[in-house]
């Protein structure tokens, strides 16, 4: 039980001292914190005290808007701070995702947390270290350049008896200095003029420090968003059918009168929810409440093929031209050999194992929220808007939920909890049921990708024309969350582009065009086919299309697919180096795909693919078997090479890569959202299967560490090349080109027969 006995903001205002009641590290710490500087948009980033505080015992408390999503990223951020300040890792405490104390560093997403947020914290720490050395210089009567720091103790070089600890220099006091900070969110540049430590001297960064959050996750002691409770708390559940939302024309409350402990049926706009004294009562009430829904104005589409038709036939509202050089049309028309194909990527689920959960306590014009959002400030602002109160009246405290892979950027459940709490005037905890989450998860968008490539008489690629037509993220950051749309708030725009990476732009072709078209999808919040960013958004589909095409050309030109790629991977040596290293690790020998087909029923193949996701370079080699009688594909092994610049935590990175690979295999072989005109059909794990232990391949990982570079993202780039590598391996094994995900036995059989 977490009991909030004192308002942190009140405390902060009155004394400047903050009691941290819940600790990510499991230990309570009293720290001196920011005091002034609280603004509507979180803490003032130009006040050093907004970023960190040093207590008398030398504990460093870091106030960060970045949150742990189960990837280990907060451990990596703590390593960066410990390194820059020269304190031991165990002295760093991360106070994460509290909108009253954190700087708004933007949402935690897109594998940008270390790359951007890490650099912000590194520079704030460098500024703090500089100030601490200045203070030590005066106290020890020695110039700064004669000082050194070990484990948070400053001493004079050559005279180690002259020393003073950070805690004694500053403990219990504020830095009271300003630093520079320009820009907002991810793009904020913090104190760039302050020199940071030379990576050659790193002692903590680059080490596989065990994750601080894991031990309690194996014992039940870790507090997830699902575990937070406060005295007097009630339980809420939502009532949303898995089809187009309409207005409830009647709600028969007598249908649940036999369920003991029901407190209230909450109705507002098209929103229906139930609040009860116990969780079980709320679950039963939501299940049994008889609601008659009016005829929806928006009809569900008849099935996935209608979505692809829609993508094909609907005018784009914005084309992002990634590259356009030479004259691809003319070159294509003059090509000796032409390759043209269309690739299909379905709507897919984020598939959180734990449905989202939030606790809201709305009293008058104030609200307190505990939730697992990826964007604490986005959720805070959405709730403020929905409740029509100022953002500063909403205090959001982050508590980690289940792994979300982009899903909790749209933190819908917090709004559900806030609406129901307001209706009953008490704190309400809401968790979505499995069918709620399967249906109303804002899904990874469907994509329809066409590629045209042409080759001259000598076998050189002379034309490349790549067009991705994707649904947008209808639930993007500028649009309201689900409950807000149900009470009448309208989308402000058609949604964000589903990325533009992976269209073959890593290759150097003379005549080359890569375009990502954003197809409007204006039905925001109205049906289960809502969309948002899903891990490495859009890149999987584009790399599936581009890397399948490259493979097709290589095979047709009787070239080894690795050698063929290297001919055109000339723009960045990091991508060619990772491909070569990965092929070597996989024991790749030059071999034209399909040149030695086996004749039995069970046939083996291997395939390769490369990708550049946000400047992290990856390559994958897949080894698979196909049962030609059933069409069943077994992935035996994935070898994956990964170059994300400076590696902060090698084992943490490997954990992420392993996870990305397995999720990629799952999405490639198994996953597709199914529906018809009556609603969504897969509402549980039987009808939407994901990878299981018996389907897990062996994994081998190659890391290239580049200490001279800045750290880049590791949370999602490695998911990108795997689908294409599997597709190319299926071709090698069977001669069948896969054009549509997932590679179900039925689709593989049809491709073999085609």
């Amino acid at each position: 039980m977490e009991t909030k006995t004192i308002s942190r903001r009140d405390l902060l205002k009155s004394t400047g001292v903050l009691v941290v009641g819940f600790s990510f590290f499991g230990a309570a710490a009293k720290v001196l914190a920011q005091g002034e500087g609280l603004s509507v948009d979180g803490m003032d980033p130009t006040v050093l005290d907004s970023w960190l505080a040093i207590s008398k015992d030398g504990t460093v408390t870091v106030f960060t808007g970045k949150v742990e999503l189960g990837t280990g990223v907060v451990t990596a951020l703590a390593q960066i701070v410990a390194e820059e300040l020269d304190v031991s890792f165990s002295k760093v405490y991360m106070d994460s995702g509290d909108t009253d104390t954190a700087v708004d560093q933007g949402i935690t997403a897109a594998a940008r947390t270390v790359e951007r947020g890490g650099v912000q914290l590194r520079q704030a720490s460098a500024a703090a270290r500089q100030e601490l050395l200045k203070l030590a210089s005066a106290r020890l009567d020695s110039p700064v350049d004669k000082l050194t720091v070990t484990d948070g103790v400053v001493s004079v070089i050559g005279d180690p008896s002259k020393k003073i600890a950070y805690g004694d220099l500053l403990g219990g006091k504020r830095f009271n200095i300003r630093i520079t900070a320009a820009g907002i969110g991810w793009d904020m540049k913090v104190a760039p003029e302050i020199p940071a430590k030379n990576p050659k001297d790193y002692k903590v960064v680059g080490k596989s420090i065990p994750r601080v959050d894991l031990p309690g996750k194996f014992t039940g002691e870790f507090v997830y968003s699902q575990d937070v409770s406060v005295p007097g708390m009630l339980h809420g559940r939502v009532v949303r059918p898995a089809t187009s939302l309409s207005a409830p024309s009647s709600v028969d409350e007598s249908s649940i009168k036999n369920i003991p402990g029901v407190v209230k049926v909450v109705r507002e706009g098209t929103f229906v929810g139930v609040v009860a004294e116990t969780e079980w009562a709320a679950i039963q009430a939501a299940k049994n409440l008889k609601v008659t829904w009016s005829e929806p104005s928006l009809k569900m589409m008849s099935g996935p093929s209608e979505v692809f038709d829609y993508l094909k036939n609907t005018k784009s509202f914005k084309d992002t031209v990634v590259t356009n050089k030479g004259n691809p049309d003319t070159a294509f028309s003059q090509a000796q050999k032409k390759y043209e194909a269309t690739y299909y990527w379905p709507l897919q689920l984020h598939g959180m194992i734990g449905p989202p959960c939030a606790l809201a306590d709305v009293r008058g014009d104030k609200a307190t929220i505990w939730t697992g959002t990826q964007g604490p400030f986005r959720t805070r602002d959405s709730i403020a808007k929905m409740l029509n109160i100022p953002p500063k009246n909403v205090h959001l405290m982050y508590r980690e939920g289940s792994g979300s892979y982009g899903r909790l950027e749209s933190d819908d459940v917090s709004e559900d909890a806030a609406l129901m709490s307001r209706a009953v005037g008490k704190p309400v905890r809401v968790q979505w049921m499995r069918a709620d989450e399967h249906a109303w998860d804002p899904k990874g968008p469907a994509q329809l990708t066409t590629v045209r490539a042409g080759v001259d008489a000598q076998g050189n690629v002379i034309a490349w024309d790549f067009l991705d037509r994707s649904l947008p993220w209808s639930e993007s950051e500028n649009n309201p969350l689900l409950a807000s749309t149900q009470i009448g708030m309208k989308a402000s725009g058609p949604g964000f582009l589903n990325g533009a990476g992976g269209g073959g732009q890593i290759y150097t072709f003379e005549n080359q065009k890569v375009v990502a078209s954003n197809i409007p999808w204006v039905q925001q919040g109205q049906w289960p086919l809502r969309t948002s960013n899903l891990r490495a958004p859009g890149d999987l589909a584009r790399v599936f299309a581009s890397e399948s095409t490259i493979d097709e050309i290589a095979s047709d030109q009787r070239m080894d697919p690795v050698q063929f790629r290297l001919r055109y991977l000339t723009s960045d040596k990091r991508i060619s180096e990772i491909l070569v290293a990965t092929a070597k690790k996989a024991g790749w020998t030059d071999h034209v795909a399909r040149s030695t087909p086996s004749n039995g029923t069970q046939v083996a193949g291997r395939g390769v693919a490369v990708a550049n996701r946000a400047n992290t370079m990856t390559a994958a080699v897949a080894e698979i078997e196909v049962d030609k009688a059933t069409g069943n594909v077994t992935v035996k092994k994935i070898t994956l090479g990964h170059d994300c610049g400076l590696i902060v935590n090698p084992d943490g990175l490997k954990n992420q890569i392993e996870g990305n690979i397995l999720q990629a295999v799952s999405r490639a072989l198994l996953e597709e959202v199914l529906f018809d005109s009556t609603g969504q059909k897969n509402l549980d794990w039987k009808t939407y299967p994901v990878i299981r232990f018996e389907q897990v391949p062996d994994v081998d990982i190659v890391l290239i560490d580049r200490p001279e570079m800045q750290p880049l993202g590791g949370g999602e780039p490695s998911i990108v090349p795997v689908t294409a590598a599997i597709a190319n391996a299926i071709y090698d094994a069977t001669g069948a080109r896969m054009r549509q995900v997932p590679f179900t036995p039925q689709r593989v059989l049809s491709a073999i027969k085609a």
Partner: protein, 156 residues
């Protein structure tokens, strides 16, 4: 409402609940044992797993009333961060989680497997753990953690 007596983690507990309440919500909400988690409520994912009289049980699929007078062990009954069970220690050694939401099922599934088959092969592990879902893709680390316990001399 009904008074129900439960033997959980070696202690007798009495709760006053609607007798149709699944064990999961009694453990989480009445007894504040948060190891077992709600994942699907359908018995499909394993996040709510407990061990009852030596066998795994999906606690979302059985009422508390059904398990009166039986011996219930939850994740908390195995060990703590300060005093971890060898399986929990092995999961830490292998850093065998990402978000960790499914870990209750993974650790309890491993406990059942190792109690019934102390030296499982990788194929045995995959087969026995196949009904537990992990979305983060930590399967390989979980397999290594189970092997680590099986290969050590410590009794699981």
């Amino acid at each position: 409402m009904a008074r129900i007596s439960l033997k959980v983690n070696g202690k007798s507990r009495v709760v006053d609940v609607d007798p149709t309440t699944p064990l999961l919500y009694v453990l989480r909400d009445n007894l504040e044992l948060h190891g077992p988690r709600f994942g699907c409520g359908l018995g499909q994912c394993g996040a709510c797993t407990v061990i009852v009289d030596g066998a795994t049980m999906r606690s979302c699929q059985h009422t508390a009333a059904e398990v009166q007078n039986k011996t219930i062990t939850t994740l908390e009954g195995l060990g703590s961060v300060a005093h971890p069970h060898p399986i929990q220690a092995a999961f830490v050694e292998e850093q065998a989680a990402q978000c960790g939401y499914c870990m209750n099922g993974m650790v309890m599934g491993a406990k059942f497997l190792l109690d019934t088959n102390p030296h499982p092969t990788v194929a045995d592990i995959k087969k026995s753990m196949n009904s537990f879902i992990c979305r983060c893709g930590t399967h390989l680390r979980i397999i290594r953690a189970i092997q680590r316990v099986a290969n050590s001399s410590v009794k699981a």
